[in-house]
Symmetry: C2
Subunit: 187 residues, 2 copies
DNA sequence: TGTACATCAGTGAACGCGCGTTCACTGATGTAC
DNA sequence: TGTACATCAGTGAACGCGCGTTCACTGATGTAC
């Protein structure tokens, strides 16, 4: 039966958060509308009171995942030495926990290939998220303004590639690549 | 009707090659058995004369994609200055053509996330492919033996991350990241 | 504030579709003599 | 080499299943007075 507007907004947020987690764990196509509704404690029938299509949900979920990551990243830089913050973020990003729990991790590493196969609108949201990430990460890089941004882009590419490879490989190969990237000098 | 053993082997190879291309373009789950058979000029009904399950086909397709990439990579190193070969490979890897045509490109960048969500056997094949790739790429890196391998792992991570981000982003963001990685010093 | 009615968030059944897999069948290939 | 038969690669129809989406219905919420 009908719920209050406040309750509905909470449900909406729970659907998006659930979809953001499930999509990062299983993939966009492998996360069904019923899965996302179920994660919010609802049945699938009411889905279209919240979203026009599954694509709309996944766009919202992608944005939510980026917001989460960027908030964490920004918190790490807040009032701290930017060089140290960048080094800490790398260690955190390349951690065993991040490799093993994509559902709460970086959407670039978890959903990049899915988004590449998706709609232009999804790619727009993804690109915007990447740009915001680079903006914060650049603070921790050495050099002038343009140089910092270039280095941030390189750093993000290495981090994303390392996680993608680690998740898709046997434990030995994963360890090799993660260790190699942990030792990389930020330059 | 029945075809000769030689014809059957050719069909088998065409199914695997077609699946290797389609999986890299659309993803493993998004490539149907009928699609792979169709790409080989066959109807879907005969599939199970060639493979036990769809998973078996995708394992073969993944191995074929790695073989292709490693053969290309090795050819680039054959009899040439290893430093120059590594630089050329990077330029080739980060090219517009590679971003736009995943079907003939690196399986790490095209299928990494799919494999991460797949079976352990798929991850074993993937890890082995990564190790072989690192072995060749290491020849073009500076330093001692262990150092070269570490640098190769970092280089591959950056290349893979750059392509994943470029494919999933708007053209502006893609260009930013690709250019940043092209300029990176091999160290 | 209290009442009467309209609204609409959520439910559960139903739809058409594409999927992986199975199977009876066909007829060219492979083999035994 | 030639013949007779067994084999089996490929075909097309069929299966059960899960998917995204639709819809009639329910009853609590929101609103007009």
């Amino acid at each position: 039966m009908r719920v209050s507007r406040k309750e509905m907004e909470k449900n909406h947020a729970r659907i998006v958060q659930g979809a953001a987690r499930l999509a990062r764990e299983r993939g966009i196509e492998q996360t069904s509308v019923a899965d996302a509704m179920g994660a919010a404690g609802l049945k699938h029938g009411g889905f279209y009171r919240h979203f026009g299509t599954k694509d709309d949900l996944m766009d919202a979920a992608l944005n939510a995942a980026f917001e989460q990551m960027i908030a964490e990243l920004a918190a790490g830089f807040d009032g701290k030495d930017p060089r140290k913050a960048a080094a800490d973020y790398r260690a955190h990003y390349l951690s065993k926990a991040h490799v093993e729990h994509p559902g709460f991790g970086c959407p670039v590493a978890a959903l990049g290939i899915d988004v590449a196969r998706g709609s232009e609108s999804l790619k727009g949201s993804f690109g915007a998220g990447v740009q915001k990430t680079l903006g914060t990460l650049a603070e921790g890089m050495p050099g002038g303004k343009a140089e910092r941004r270039t280095r941030a882009a390189r750093e993000l590419a290495m981090l994303v590639g390392a996680i993608v490879i680690a998740r898709a490989s046997d434990p030995d190969t994963a360890r090799t690549v993660l260790n190699a990237c942990r030792q990389s000098v930020i330059s």
